[in-house]
């Protein structure tokens, strides 16, 4: 056994991620087609039975699509599509709850989606057996509707432009609110990682292997070992710093208008109690929600009693109860993808609120959602010698 192998073996034993970097040569200056060709090859050779990646149809549908036909993937698949309508993790949750033996699906995931999948694995909603997690770089995404406006009908050529002129599109900053505050442009947990940030994607893409499953995908491909280019590290670091500053600014704005009981009521004033934010949330996983169960149903005399206490009461009741409780239930797993805000019919600023609340909450437990499969969820574990002042 070589020293190299020994090193990675011990890393594996410790549960750390093994990362071996490679360079994927881009054919014809077209990174989107190159990645699709690779996927088509996986399907043709049976390395994967299906590939889930974002796609864009002639009828204007931009969504994650499960491809099993290599031709179809070349036709409508768009890797790196910077438009997000759903968090792919909530779809993974549906297809990977009961894995079938022998079925292997490669799933393209943005960093926030990959983090959500990790949380769902820990929440026992996703079984990794049949999945190969293919993480991609993500400098930010547009809301699906805005995307049509920005990109027009030819998604492939737009995405190629988008990859080549990263600076320009980052400066325009028409991204979803959550993306403008995102500190994670690269995935944290993956089997295979395909990246382009801070590189010239018309020449080469960056590929990193995070597991044996990922290594298998690379067999027979035209790749060579490459150290991570310094330009890439620098680009990502700068992007992170910028985004962190933007997050601080937005949280400061939030603090001006949302803190304290009265401001909080005002912040949520328009809430319809539609629970969309909960339904689209990838980590709000309960198959039956407490808030949609009979537990909170009330009889007439109860409602009247409550009304009598304050002299009057808003109907329907409990919008703030819903939001604060939801925070208590899922803040430790929140990946700040901001899909909740996109789905809100009355445009409540949930992205920045959840950014602040979840970050503070996770800090208490020295936890970061989706960072690792081995870190237990904060609320299912404990140490006897911690938080001694609470309750004493």
């Amino acid at each position: 056994m070589s020293t190299e192998e020994q090193k990675s073996r011990s890393a594996e034993e410790e549960g750390r991620m093994i990362i071996r970097p490679y360079k994927l040569k881009v054919e014809g200056g077209n990174p989107v087609e190159t990645v699709k060709a690779v996927c088509a090859r996986w399907l043709k050779e049976g390395v994967l039975n299906a590939v889930m990646m974002p796609a864009f149809s002639r009828n204007g549908v931009a969504a994650p699509v499960l491809f099993s036909d290599p031709e179809a993937i070349r036709d409508s698949g768009v890797p790196f599509l910077p438009a997000m309508g759903v968090n792919t993790a909530s779809v993974v949750d549906e297809i990977a709850f009961n894995p079938a033996p022998g079925v292997k699906v490669g799933v393209f995931l943005r960093p926030c989606e990959a983090r959500a999948v990790v949380e769902l694995v820990k929440l026992q909603q996703v079984v990794l057996d049949g999945l190969v997690l293919i993480g991609v770089d993500c400098p930010g995404t547009y809301r699906a509707l805005d995307f049509f406006e920005v990109a027009g009908s030819d998604a492939t050529s737009f995405v190629n432009r988008f990859l080549q002129e990263q600076d320009r599109y980052l400066a325009e900053n028409r991204f979803r609110t959550a993306c403008t505050m995102c500190e994670f442009p690269t995935p944290l947990v993956f089997d295979l990682h395909i990246g382009f940030l801070g590189m010239n994607p018309s020449e080469a893409l960056w590929v990193a292997v995070g597991s044996e499953k990922g290594a298998e995908l690379l067999k027979g491909l035209n790749i060579e070992v490459m150290q991570e280019p310094e330009s890439r590290q620098k680009f990502i670091e700068e992007l992170r710093t910028k985004r962190q500053m933007r997050a601080e600014e937005q949280i400061k704005e939030l603090d001006k208008k949302a803190l304290g009981p009265e401001n909080l009521v005002r912040y949520f004033a328009a809430c319809l109690n539609c629970h969309n934010c909960m339904k689209v949330c990838p980590v709000c996983y309960c198959r039956e929600c407490f808030f949609e169960s009979e537990a909170l149903e009330r009889d007439l005399d109860e409602v009247v009693r409550i009304s009598r206490h304050k002299g009057q009461t808003r109907m329907p009741q409990g919008t703030l109860l819903f939001h604060i409780t939801r925070m208590n239930h899922m803040m430790t797993s929140c990946v700040q993808c901001g899909i909740c805000e996109d789905s809100c019919p009355v445009k409540i600023g949930l992205s920045v609120l959840f950014k602040k609340v979840s970050r503070n909450a996770q800090k208490e437990f020295d936890y970061l959602s989706g960072r690792s499969l081995d870190e237990p969820l904060p609320l299912v574990t404990f140490r006897e010698d911690e938080f001694r002042t609470i309750g004493e």
Binding site: P261, V265, Q317, I324, T325, E384
Partner: protein
């Protein structure tokens, strides 16, 4: 105008704090009658929804009583309650809400005096703080 009387909703663990409250009673230790006790099987059974709901509907404070760490009838319930309380407090702080209106205390079945003292102190503290702001907010 009548003086403000805090209204406290108390969740008492069946195995320790409820028995502690019982001991306070049988030992005839005086404490303010402001807390309405609700007997629960474990402090960890108190989901945050019940705490928030009590506060939203007009309670001035919420008290949760559990067994001392290490003494849980269900082995680790109270350790988990403790973590949940850390999370709850963090969320209250992040939202600019008063975390001192929710109190968690470990009180064993033998600590009738501690139970009475805790309720007395908490009642006085809330009396000083005044009514919960949610008491008058009908729009929550």
């Amino acid at each position: 105008m009548s003086e403000f009387e805090p209204r406290i909703v108390g969740f008492l663990c069946n195995w320790c704090t409820y028995a502690g409250a019982d001991l306070a009673g049988t030992s005839r230790i005086q404490y303010p009658p402001n807390m309405k006790p609700i007997r629960v099987m474990c402090s960890a059974a108190v989901d945050s929804v019940y705490i928030v709901r009590a506060l939203m509907e007009g309670a001035d404070g919420v008290f949760i009583g559990g067994c001392h760490p290490g003494d849980c009838h269900y082995v680790s319930g109270n350790y988990k309650t403790r973590r949940r309380m850390v999370l709850f407090n963090s969320i209250m702080r992040s939202l600019g809400l008063d975390q001192e209106r929710v109190l968690l205390r470990w009180i064993s079945a033998a600590e009738g005096k501690k139970f009475a003292d805790t309720i007395t102190e908490f009642t006085e503290k809330l009396r000083k703080k005044g009514p919960s702001p949610f008491k008058t907010l009908w729009e929550v």
